[in-house]
Symmetry: C2
Subunit: 462 residues, 2 copies
């Protein structure tokens, strides 16, 4: 079943006014699917806004909140516009705090005001706290719904507390044990509780050697901890080691996916977007792309100037012109292979800045091996295909030698530039992902042409 099928079924039941059957059908779907169907139906003009509200009101309370949390901001804003204050309050009540904060971050001020009025004062306080953490920090993705226990409790008391508070807690399977000032003392898993005798005291069984992250830690670093250590939740503490929230594995997955997409977009000279491609407006996509295209186009001016400077020489040895694209492309490809490898390695935490010399030494060896093979193949190809087969009289052994010598130097240079620039960018506090193919290509283009003409004037005397 695809979402298309879901949408069609929902639409046909709605149009036939079979509300009871529709309600039953909706209950079998996942929140993410319902949210996507609503967006699709609205985008395609199959649903009007008041149908949407009618559809949403059919959802049972908890499913309604979960579905609302999965919607994109446009749809959420439309729905909030139609909600009564009571409805808004009910939807928010069943949502996890981190999801509510996500909603708030996307809404205009007037809607934020309505939301903050609709929640109780405790929640409002927590929302404001989470909102105060910087974007991309662990604090901004944490939730404050977790089970906290005391060291003096027994296992039986712990279960009583989980039962009492656990219904709307995002993760109940790992419980945190805190001291009088909320200092994090240890943790215990429900699995260990299940296996322990009911009168065991938590102090005697809790795990005290725990990994906690700080509210200000980078969310990507936190997500990488989940990937590396297979956690399902991590406690978030403030500077005084007081427990303020937890990050759960589902949010960590979202961060990992988003960060990978952002890296990929930056590597292709695109400003990362908030919206999925098909949902983004044309103007938005244009804005993501045009600044980089302009910047790179203007940078290519230098390459043009280099060629202009050698115009006379090129007119005399016209055969050299034909190899410019091959040299530029190969240089660009070599450079982007090296840069992309290093950028991804740094994202995954496999390559540190201190590895710079090891990386360069590796790239020098790889590039000499690549350059050797490429140079030899290019020489044979030029002499046999361009010279003999195509009968181009401009192709001589010295010309082929110039091309191949340039090729080898370009490959080595491209790989060195490709591996060092991303690391230099990181060292300077910039995002290394920007130093991928497009920028490397522009730089390597200029360098390879300079080399080309230098070597040509040396060997051919042009």
């Amino acid at each position: 079943m695809t979402n298309l099928d879901f949408s069609e079924k929902i639409l046909s039941l709605l149009q036939d006014k079979k509300y009871a059957a529709l309600q039953k059908y909706l209950e079998t779907l996942e929140p993410a699917d319902i949210a996507e169907c609503m967006t699709d139906l609205l985008d395609d003009g199959e649903l009007e806004e008041r149908d949407l509200l009618r559809l949403f009101r059919l959802l049972p309370k908890e499913l309604a909140s979960d579905t609302f949390a999965e919607m994109d901001a446009d749809l959420q804003e439309k729905l909030i516009g139609g909600f009564t204050d009571k409805e808004l309050s009910e939807v928010l009540q069943d949502m996890f705090l981190d999801d509510t904060v996500d909603v708030i971050e996307e809404m205009p001020a007037s809607v934020v005001k309505r939301i903050l009025k609709a929640v109780d004062s405790d929640t409002r306080k927590s929302i404001n706290q989470v909102l105060s953490y910087p974007e991309d920090s662990a604090g901004s993705i944490m939730t404050i719904e977790y089970v906290d226990l005391r060291p003096a409790m027994t296992v039986a008391e712990a279960f009583a507390r989980i039962r009492e508070t656990g219904v709307d807690k995002e993760t109940i399977y790992i419980c945190y044990i805190i001291g009088p000032t909320r200092k994090l003392l240890g943790l215990v898993s429900v699995r260990e509780l299940l296996l322990a005798a009911p009168d065991t005291v938590l102090r005697d069984m809790m795990e005290t050697n725990i990994t906690a992250v700080s509210t200000l830690d980078d969310r990507e670093d936190v997500a990488n901890l989940f990937a590396r250590y297979d956690y399902t939740a991590l406690p978030v503490v403030d500077k005084e080691n007081r427990l303020v929230g937890i990050v759960t594995v589902d949010d960590a997955i979202d961060v990992l996916q988003e960060e990978a997409t952002e890296d990929i977009e930056k590597m292709a000279a695109i400003t990362p977007s908030e919206h999925p491609y098909l949902r983004a407006k044309t103007l938005e996509i244009w804005k993501q792309r045009i600044p980089w295209l302009l910047l790179l186009m203007v940078s290519a001016t230098f390459t043009g100037m280099i060629i202009s400077g050698f115009e006379q020489a090129l007119a005399a040895q016209a055969a050299l012109i034909a190899f410019i694209p091959m040299l530029m492309d190969t240089g660009g490809n070599c450079g982007s292979q090296a840069s992309v490898t290093v950028i991804r390695g740094m994202s995954l935490g496999e390559i540190e800045l201190s590895d710079v010399l090891r990386v360069m030494w590796k790239e020098i060896r790889v590039s000499l091996m690549c350059g050797g093979v490429l140079g030899a193949v290019a020489f044979a190809k030029i002499m046999l295909i361009d010279g003999l087969l195509m009968g181009n009289p401009g192709i001589t052994v010295p010309v082929a030698a110039v091309v191949c010598a340039t090729l080898v130097c370009t490959v080595v240079l491209a790989k060195l530039v490709g591996c060092t620039l991303p690391m230099a960018a990181k060292k300077l506090g910039f995002d290394p992902a920007v130093m991928a193919s497009p920028f490397i290509t522009t730089i390597v283009d200029a360098l390879s042409l300079l080399l080309y003409f230098q070597i040509a004037s040396l060997l051919l005397g042009v």
Copy 2:
């Protein structure tokens, strides 16, 4: 604390023969960190193989198994070589089945034989079953350790069974309810069990509307389900809907990370590797890169041929040569922006093959907007900087017009090629990620040069 600190501390305790302190220290570390320290110490020559074995023997039983599962294949093979049969059997006994299968897949036949001899016959049977699923299938990443319950059990009986069997189960928080032939009937979470009265019968409370995957489903699709629906585990069933295993969220994260890395590598014309960059041998990195470089270099021959064909015209209008790099680079950048966006969108399931017309229509609009701006800026730049400022007499309005007309056409063409080729590749059953920057650039280079000379001969009569 970084791994470097861990390694130094381990080494100094080992050299001072403070084994009791070392053992205590190791118990505070995560398995993944211990495994990495061992690899680093061995790679740097600080540890010999027999020290390694001594170090490993200090680990308590469960930590030893967890650490072993985190090691790379080389290290595992070295350790197995030093293990007695009893040691091997103990390490394997505490490992999860999916991890054991991962080990087996990397080992030479003689070691596999030893491993299969070291486990009991039930485990052997399960290992052989999991090994029989295709690589990249859900079956290959599933584990067979899960809690299965019967519909007639009460909550109290369910807890008794979890306590009895749950110690070495990978995920106990979601329990699966199966019928007489192991048919999957429903599931129940430990959270629901905790909140239910002890005499409730599972049949009356279990969730029957469940998502299950098939053993042969693609592992990337399965991992995407985790990302989309926030699952912590998914049941894996065979064709007859019989429960054969579960996939857990930690494995899903690994798959998502691996697939993102593979896509990134393929987009940069690199054959994906098994090893992290710093650990891969130079020859291995060379092998990942050289075939693509050769292929792309030879493809650039066509671009060279196009230029050769217009050698006479270029010699007459030498000013045109200087703009070749700018046109090629801009075309390449536009093409890779479109292709990378579409490739990532397809990986995330946001773009389907059926969206091809919507994608093309979007790219046409975006490319006209990009082309318009780039063309206008390029025209101004050529006339002002190249013409007036640099005083190049070859720069005339017709020349600038040729360049800018080519630029606009190239941008539109590049974006269309860039968005359609990955979708065409997927339609034909190839990996769309291969159709990224390098290939698109090579194709767009040739097309843009053909356009350039066509337009030049039209407008300039060369």
